[in-house]
């Protein structure tokens, strides 16, 4: 009984310490984002490459997934609204649920699966290969050169892709509202405008930025925890990914709480 209590206490303390460390580390990276010195030519190149790999390369696939998955989702939601006689809530469901909640979530999940996993592995491999040490030996700041461009890329990519996804969903919403409710574009537009709340859009964009920050920061942090053995790579990658998903859930819950309050 005693040992169970001790174990539990130790676990809780470890979790809290790790959480506090992550927040402190995030603060450090966040401050660097606003320092002019951070933006060297080398850092800008990394940033450019990161945006290219995370957003531009994925764009055709992302748009296709958004169109297929988003349209199906919007079709199902509209159908349900019609069946349950909740047509009056059509605009609010479209803006409040699909645009401000589902679209950022869909984007963040796609980017996490594609880029966060890659970043985590890349960092772990660099650590194992002693490339991080190389950077340090040449007095290249790891935070400025490796972390900040990836984190900025995360923020830019999630905000832009999520907005694109929302726009795609709204466009497919036009089609489905016509097919399911026989609604004209003018009526659809009016309902949408009535249901739109700028504060909701701002919260959604802010949430995307937070998502982008953490889904890149956490994998980097865990990747850098690798030892000099190759066997440590899968361990830190799986830990990193689990933590990224936990972070996504926490951010989602917090954003839902802001809506409730």
């Amino acid at each position: 009984m005693m040992s169970f209590g001790e174990n539990l206490g130790r676990r809780v303390i470890q979790m809290l310490t790790a959480f506090a460390d992550t927040i402190v580390f995030a603060g450090k990276v966040f401050i660097r984002i606003f320092r002019r010195k951070t933006y060297s030519s080398a850092m800008r190149e990394v940033l450019l490459n990161q945006i290219y790999f995370t957003s531009v390369q994925i764009l055709p696939v992302f748009l296709m997934v958004s169109i297929i998955f988003g349209s199906l989702l919007i079709g199902i939601v509209f159908q349900l609204l019609k069946e349950f006689g909740l047509t009056g809530f059509f605009g609010h469901v479209l803006m409040g649920l699909i645009v401000t909640e589902l679209s950022p979530l869909l984007t963040v999940l796609l980017i996490t699966l594609r880029s966060a996993a890659a970043i985590n592995t890349e960092m772990a491999v660099m650590k194992v290969n002693r490339e991080i040490k190389t950077l340090e030996m040449f007095r290249i700041d790891v935070i400025n050169y490796l972390l900040v461009p990836r984190v900025i890329n995360g923020i830019i990519s999630i905000v832009l892709l999520s907005s694109l996804c929302s726009i795609v969903l709204l466009v497919s919403g036009t089609l489905f509202s016509w097919l399911i409710f026989g609604m004209s574009i003018d009526v659809y537009k009016n309902i949408l405008l009535n249901a739109t709340n700028f504060s909701d859009i701002l919260i959604a964009l802010f949430k995307c930025a937070i998502y982008g920050f953490f889904i890149t920061l956490i994998p980097i942090r865990f990747g850098l925890r690798a030892s000099h053995e190759f066997t440590s790579i899968p361990i830190v990658v799986s830990q990193g990914m689990v933590n990224v998903f936990a972070a996504i859930l926490i951010i989602e819950v917090l954003s839902l709480l802001t809506k409730l309050l």
């Binding site: 060297s40 030519s41 080398a42 850092m43 190149e45 002693r130 490339e131 190389t134 040449f138 050169y145």
Partner: protein
């Protein structure tokens, strides 16, 4: 020349401590970044420390590679290089440090099949305008390979 690993490491650390801003290591422990082409590895130092524009730094890197007759490796990555090419890549990267004091740690560990130091000195001569000084650290028992140097 050092008698033991401990003495060598101690001396290396001392050197790093004495010239923290100029030291430019060439060592198996300081590898090339594997997910970047060789010219990018070399250009990185100028881009980061001197904020040299990307194109200019990369042009410079390719130019230096051509100077050591290795223009063809510019767009290759670390795993694709042979030990001589890898050594030259590391050397050029070190030479990119401003007022570089190149520190070559056990060159025969980087190019194990070398019979003598000739290859290293030739490479150093080709780029002697790019660095301030060069220091080679190795064990006493490798003295033979260095000849009269």
């Amino acid at each position: 020349m050092f008698d033991s690993e401990q003495a060598l490491n101690q001396s290396l650390h001392q050197f790093l401590h004495d010239y923290p801003l100029q030291v430019a290591p060439v060592s198996v422990d300081v590898p090339l970044i594997s997910n970047q082409d060789i010219y990018m590895n070399i250009a990185l130092i100028k881009q980061y420390h001197e904020d040299m524009p990307k194109r200019q730094a990369q042009r410079l890197a390719v130019e230096y590679l051509e100077r050591v007759d290795l223009g063809q490796i510019a767009y290759k990555r670390n795993p694709a290089l042979n030990p001589e090419e890898r050594f030259c890549g590391m050397l050029l990267r070190a030479a990119m440090v401003k007022d570089a004091m190149i520190l070559i740690d056990q060159p025969f560990k980087i190019i194990p099949h070398l019979k003598d130091i000739q290859f290293v000195t030739t490479a150093l001569k080709k780029i002697d305008d790019l660095y301030l000084s060069c220091h080679i650290y190795d064990y006493q028992w490798m003295k033979e390979k260095y000849g009269e140097l």
